[in-house]
């Protein structure tokens, strides 16, 4: 371990740690633009200057300089404070200062640092430089050269993360600007990540721009339901409508990235028509009446199968399994959905909790479903948002359908129960590599849509008043040991680390 002091506070860090990383372990944020934990060091913005020892003429950059034994680092010395002010003044002199119409406003490190460390006013009385504005880099990314501070996070993202160079720096000195390469618009399926890592409003999402000021929005830290990777995301919404997904850093799952398909999948969770309240044989019914009908249809459980969605949480599935097992149902199946995977994050399994379903004993739909339930599939209980194979419906006496959107099957259902989308749920998901991750509701589905697990609880007449009680029961049953506590600790640690290093919310 290397011993050093930062602002007089002593600490020990692993050999090779930079000053910026060392400071982060103290919870001390050293402002920076070009450095990003997942695309590394470049050292161009000079925002992270610190004083090492007594040398005030040549300041070090904290992102790049490795800690050495006995190092004495000052992050608030007069020389550092002045240099930082100087850097912000430089960054702002040719910046358009168009925060009032800029989508980055409110989540802009340039704005934030200007308030915290900046000079407050400008001594620049000259004409500002002119650069290309509203340049479409692609169908999804818009570029504004005048807002750009040339930190090159975007070009380095492509070079280092994607191994390509669709954009680069053109010209020299004050005329430098980011430009599209000779092959035209960016086609990379991960290109929208450059919007998030851009510390200013130079790169904006053509999908999100001009739609809402971020300070009016609500944000939920959750997990992308798009595939089995389970990329950690922040879901942004306004007045009950999702406006965007953006990746949230988790070094073990998705680093700071997510695929564009997952990012834009937020649209499908803004439901226009949905199931509210229960229906029995096409007539609105109270929930207890509907559940009684389910019990009646299931009977002793023979000839009954459950088809569960792998978009459901582990909690939903545990409650479902508890009820089904108690009701004598032996066939616990899970559905599937797929899309084209890729070489980075996106997996072919287009649902977020297949591993969780498997862990709880749900199995894929067998080739001969009738035989699997001892002759004839009499009643099918569909739990959650899942595509039902036609073979299951062929010779059915009754269908129980619980889903956010009933769809074409709704009319055929003897009992129809409401359901929530993953964006309306609290609980946990297990991704393809076995990480158990908490999700939190970004949207409130409103009246008549209880949490999915409560339906199965009520059917089972189980005594879990809250989700925490259910999770405790799961822990006792050996499913997801230590789940509740682990989730909160991890969440906290990740959000702390992410914001100190990425400079993003």
């Amino acid at each position: 371990m290397i011993n050093l002091s930062i602002n007089g506070r002593k600490l020990a860090v692993k050999p090779g740690s930079t000053i910026l990383e060392a400071a982060a372990t103290l919870g001390l944020e050293i402002p920076h633009y070009c450095y990003h934990p997942d695309i590394g060091i470049d050292g161009n913005c000079r925002m992270c200057v610190v004083q090492v020892g007594q040398n005030t003429r040549k300041l070090a950059i904290a992102c790049q300089l490795p800690c050495t034994e006995g190092m004495d680092v000052q992050t608030e010395s007069p020389a550092v404070v002045k240099a930082r002010k100087g850097i912000l003044e430089f960054l702002l002199i040719n910046h358009p200062l168009d925060c009032t119409i800029c989508d980055q406003a409110g989540e802009c490190p340039l704005q934030d640092y200007a308030y915290r460390f900046g000079p407050g006013d400008s001594r620049f009385v000259e004409k500002k430089g002119k650069k290309a504005k509203h340049v479409a880099f692609s169908d999804t990314v818009m570029f504004d050269g005048e807002r750009c501070i040339l930190c090159t996070r975007c070009t380095r993202f492509f070079e280092q993360v994607r191994g390509s160079r669709p954009i680069g720096v053109e010209n020299m000195g004050g005329k430098s600007t980011i430009t599209l390469g000779p092959n035209g618009p960016i086609t990379d399926p991960y290109q929208m990540n450059i919007i998030d890592i851009c510390p200013v409003g130079a790169l904006t999402s053509r999908d999100f721009r001009f739609r809402q000021r971020v300070w009016f929005m609500d944000f939920a830290q959750t997990v992308c339901p798009g595939c089995a990777r389970g990329c950690n995301i922040t879901a942004g919404s306004y007045q009950g409508k999702l406006l965007r997904f953006s990746p949230r850093r988790n070094p073990d799952v998705n680093k700071s990235w997510m695929c564009d398909d997952g990012r834009l999948s937020y649209r499908q969770y803004n439901l226009t028509a949905r199931t509210r309240g229960a229906t029995v044989l096409g007539e609105p019914a109270t929930q207890p009446a509907a559940l009684d009908k389910v019990r009646e249809l299931v009977g002793d459980g023979s000839g009954v199968a459950v088809l569960a969605s792998t978009r459901s949480t582990c909690e939903d599935l545990f409650a479902l399994k508890t009820w089904a097992s108690g009701a004598g149902i032996k066939a616990l199946w899970h559905g599937a959905a797929s899309w084209a995977g890729d070489d980075m994050l996106k997996l072919p399994d287009a649902t977020p909790n297949t591993a969780g379903a498997r862990e709880l004993g749900f199995t894929p739909v067998p080739d001969k479903p009738g035989a699997a339930v001892g002759g004839k599939l009499r009643v099918l209980v569909v739990a959650g948002d899942v595509a039902v194979p036609a073979a299951l419906l062929a010779d059915l006496d009754a269908l129980v359908l619980q889903a956010p959107v009933a769809g074409a099957l709704g009319a055929a259902a003897a009992v129809l129960l409401p359901g929530r989308t993953p964006l309306e749920k609290k609980g946990t998901l297990v991704n393809a590599t076995g990480q158990r991750q908490p999700i939190k509701p970004a949207l409130d589905p409103g009246a008549g849509v209880p949490e999915d697990w409560t339906l199965w609880r009520d059917l089972a007449r189980a005594g879990w008043p809250t989700l925490l009680h259910l999770q405790a029961e799961m822990a006792r049953a050996g499913c997801a040991p230590g789940l509740a506590r682990k989730a909160t600790v991890e969440e906290h640690a990740l959000s702390q680390r992410a914001s100190v290093l990425t400079g993003q919310p």
């Binding site: 060091i41 050292g43 000079r46 040549k58 950059i61 960054l91 040339l150 004050g174």
Partner: protein, 431 residues
């Protein structure tokens, strides 16, 4: 009495001095070939270190010490890059070597590569040196044909390949780590240090980057010994250098003179500059290429051209480009001219240089064109304070040193611009 010491320039005026035949008739490549057989690489490094030779590109770092930074036994190839991207305003010495005695440079390349254990060398030239690059390429071809380069040179078992690489005309490529990026085919942004190139340079391998004039000195030092070289010129900054004089003198030129001579004498001597043109008076000298602090006429009188004296007068010998300015020079305009160069040549990587150099130009442009304000001079000094020492490379420092020294030493000239502007404005209102 100031006089020339012709070492590097000894053969400059011979007919076809750039050809191999003549070079070998004068004993060329003998030092190289004999060193390959009779001397150990470590001896050569020690010899150069003991000679006191300093880098001639501008920074003036001890050449032998730089060579000794190459780590041993790390299992990577070692490279030599010869920096011939001579672009510092006021500097035109390397060009003389490239055009008039390229084999002298190549012999130095051979000896240096042998000393540092390199088997590949790149001679990096700015593409505007059309004549120099033709001469150097022809010399490389001649050397290969004479089996001075290639495999198992003269049966010594030593292999060496020498490549000529052209820059595309950016000043920043003369910064050693930019030069490496340029050779690697990358945008020539300077690299952060550490790691230093001697540890992690070209293609991630240990690399020594030396200026053309530095390398050209190596055969002479190896041939005549460290003691001989250390005895030349000023004892704390030994050697002879090719001094480039330009500006308002009667005769401009390049002269090879041992360090420690009087700058005033060089300017006045009939054998050298012959005094200031048209009988005018000296106003200022930029002594070491445009990136050095300006000296006033009073300072010039006390200045000898050696590192210790330059430290005393707070300037530097840099690349030995001496720019002489007479009383007709408008120092605000001089500053504007210089700063336009730095703004144009800033690579744009670091915030302070990218944003600061064009800002300085805009302020100076206002002053020179009669739109200056009283606070502008302090503003210039403070912008410079926010640039100097705040960037990856020394380009911003090189812009700040002349700027700050000009503003500080010639402030009345800036104020005269303001007064003139003020009078014009008053007259304009009156009319």
């Amino acid at each position: 009495m100031i006089r020339e010491t012709k070492i590097l320039s000894a053969r400059f005026d011979k007919p076809e001095s750039w050809k191999l035949d003549g070079f070998r008739r004068d004993g060329g490549y003998e030092t190289y070939l004999s060193a390959l057989k009779t001397r150990k690489p470590g001896e050569l490094v020690a010899e150069v270190k003991a000679s006191g030779l300093k880098g001639r590109g501008g920074a003036g770092f001890s050449t032998g010490t730089k060579w000794s930074f190459i780590p041993e036994g790390i299992g990577k190839p070692v490279y030599l890059c010869v920096n011939g991207d001579e672009s510092e305003p006021g500097t035109f010495k390397d060009r003389q070597i490239l055009e008039r005695d390229p084999h002298q440079l190549l012999e130095g390349v051979g000896l240096t590569c042998y000393a540092i254990g390199a088997h590949t060398a790149w001679v990096y030239l700015r593409c505007e040196f059309a004549e120099g690059l033709r001469k150097v390429q022809a010399a490389i071809d001649e050397a290969y044909a004479a089996k001075l380069f290639g495999k198992n040179i003269a049966g010594s078992g030593f292999d060496l390949d020498v490549h000529l690489h052209l820059g595309a005309g950016a000043y920043i490529c003369g910064e050693e780590t930019s030069l490496l990026n340029s050779i690697e085919g990358l945008r020539p942004y300077p690299r952060n240090k550490p790691p230093f190139p001697a540890v992690e340079g070209l293609f991630g391998c240990p690399t020594i980057i030396n200026n053309v004039e530095t390398i050209a000195n190596i055969p002479h030092i190896v041939k005549r010994g460290a003691a001989w070289y250390a005895g030349l010129g000023h004892k704390e900054d030994p050697g002879a250098r090719l001094w480039c004089v330009s500006g308002h003198v009667k005769t401009c030129g390049v002269w090879e003179i041992e360090t420690g001579f009087s700058l005033q004498e060089l300017i006045d001597s009939p054998q050298f500059c012959g005094g200031i043109r048209d009988g005018r008076r000296l106003k200022a000298v930029i002594p070491g290429g445009s990136s050095s602090r300006v000296l006033t006429a009073d300072e010039v009188r006390q200045t000898t051209m050696d590192v210790p004296c330059m430290k005393r007068v707070n300037s530097s010998l840099g690349s030995a480009g001496i720019i002489v300015l007479d009383e007709t020079a408008d120092m605000a305009d001089v500053a504007l001219n210089l700063m336009k160069f730095y703004a144009h040549e800033s690579c744009g990587q670091c915030t302070p240089c990218r944003e600061g150099t064009p800002w300085v130009v805009k302020v100076l442009d206002r002053i020179v064109h009669g739109r200056g304000r009283l606070e502008d001079m302090d503003l210039l000094l403070d912008i410079a304070d926010n640039m100097e020492g705040r960037t990856v490379c020394a380009l911003a420092d090189g812009a700040c040193w002349p700027l700050v020294s000009i503003v500080q030493k010639f402030r009345p000239e800036f104020e005269a611009h303001l007064a003139r502007a003020h009078r014009a404005a008053v007259a304009g209102v009156g009319a």
